[in-house]
Amino acid sequence: MAIFCGAGTKVLVQGITGRDGSFHAKSMLDYGTRIVAGVTPGKGGQTFADKVPVFDTAAEAVAATGAEASVIFVPPAAAAGAVCEAADAGIKFVVCITEGVPVRDMLKVMPYLQERGVRLLGPNCPGLVVPGQTKLGIMPTSIVKPGAVGVVSRSGTLTYEVVHQLTQAGLGQSTCLGIGGDPVIGTDFLDALAAFADDAQTRALVLIGEIGGDAEERAAQFIRANLKIPVVAFIAGRTAPPGKRMGHAGAIVSGGAGTAADKEKALAAAGIPVAARPVEIVPKLREIWRDA
């Protein structure tokens, strides 16, 4: 089992003939992701990697292939439009990798998705890997291993760092999920935690937060109230100065709110061990999880 998708999920790739789209679509195919269709307007009728049919529109792609999920690699100005296109075509799980999407565009997309019962992961996220089953996104699969630890993170490479350490320590993962670093994202910590709570395979969790907003504080409350499995957290950005954007648009500490200290305090208050360094995550997990 896993969250949001699995080995059988039929996947559409929007922007499949672009530079990033084609590279990562091949990488997903290599990992065994069941990519059934691609979309690039004007390239309908072509075939990608000798096996994936390309369509002009998502509607045609879904009609022809029954795709259930979509991974989006299109430029920022077109990303929100591509999300709506996927939703309108009947896709129920959309992963938007694109970085730099204007926040206003996402504000307008959200109710559109809600009306159609569509889950969005991202934007500005690495997507997710279900080790041994499927990958929807850009995470390196060499560092993952099937297992019982769920990983959810606002970051990209920092997630890889942590997953790498888990794998090296022999702790496989159920699903590794990057929710993205933007202020407005489709799936937040709470959504991910709720999904992990329902996943029998996931028996421990690592949560990787960062400065900005109050997602980690709310996650802490949610975990205390709803999660029965052990959780270890890490927060990036202790040294970030206020008011500056630390790469991720969401990573701005404003007016004293959203600091790493606030978040660590909230997590600690909820009984969740917080690692001071990435390298402490595995030991902390072993302290509270007898299976580790």
Partner: protein, 383 residues
Amino acid sequence: MNIHEYQARDIFRRHGLPVPEGRVATTAAAAVEHAAALGVPVMVKAQVLTGGRGKAGGVKFCPTLDDVRRQAGAILGMDIKGHRVGQVLVTPAADIAAEFYLGMLVDRRTRRPILIASAAGGVDIEEVARTAPEKIIQRQIDPRYGLLDHEALAVGLALAAGDLGRARQLAAALQKLYVAFMGADASLAEVNPFIFTPQGQGLAIDAKINLDDNALERHPEYEALRDLEAEDASERAAREAGLSFVKLDGNVGCLVNGAGLAMATMDLVQYYGGMPANFLDIGGSSNPEKVVKALSIILADANVEVILFNIFGGITRCDDVAAGIIEATRRLDIRVPIVVRLTGTNEQEARRLLAGTSLVPAETMDEAVKKALELTATKPKNK
């Protein structure tokens, strides 16, 4: 991107908010000229990209032109939280019968625009939120419909305690503020205070807008609003090179791929007793040009005593990145040591490449940070 008050006022004015006239001066003489044209009394207001101007003495009421000359002279050149004041706004002073706070921002939790308003205006809204949260009205806005008439009027009535004239003006101002907020692709738009004169006229006295950096491309006119003088030279160079960079005060120059890992690396430097010189996300690229640019920006900082690369090769191959780093370091005259940590895909090949260079290899983040700190002149006490 933050913009100056006078620039935010222009955006608000274009959206129909009642913004009093105002003129910008870079010298006391020009300020006096503007005040004479506008008629005293005026307010003279420092234009700096930080809050707390008032407390720092950067906002002054000037009943006479002599006051304008003296106060503008004092404010221009002033240092407010590290920002030098290069411009002042001169604007007619209005009699104030009541002050309100009106703001729009993005609510991450509900993923909606949110209206924040308070009858306790003219003071720091975060302060009001802490001390008297019951004085703050919040209302989510459905972007499919915008701020509807009845929603705006209900807020106006609540703010104005039953004064219909004020309520309607506040409601109209909120609706225009919302349109300005969305139209400008702002992450924050606020008027504080929105005042009423004793004659009952509503005025947007102070304006603040933060723009969404992701949306700058579709507002080419915003480039002209950028205050190049207020921007750190290295941050400007990084921005122009397409690098995500923030200047800090330490001595360890950091080059990392990915924002989260970059923050975690800075944190680790501090954990081991050092101080990072910067935040820098070089992205997934192994392009030597980008590495050269990043290195030269960091090396322009005389405080930097060591360079620390922390790269997690995922989709990007580590050997490609190593080759890029080696080529970049060859093309620059670098006099500080460089520690390189490369992990992930093709890590072994990368390490073999580094073996033939003066670059100091490291296997883990912790090892890399410790090695870097040992190479600084002022070695921290290791934990």
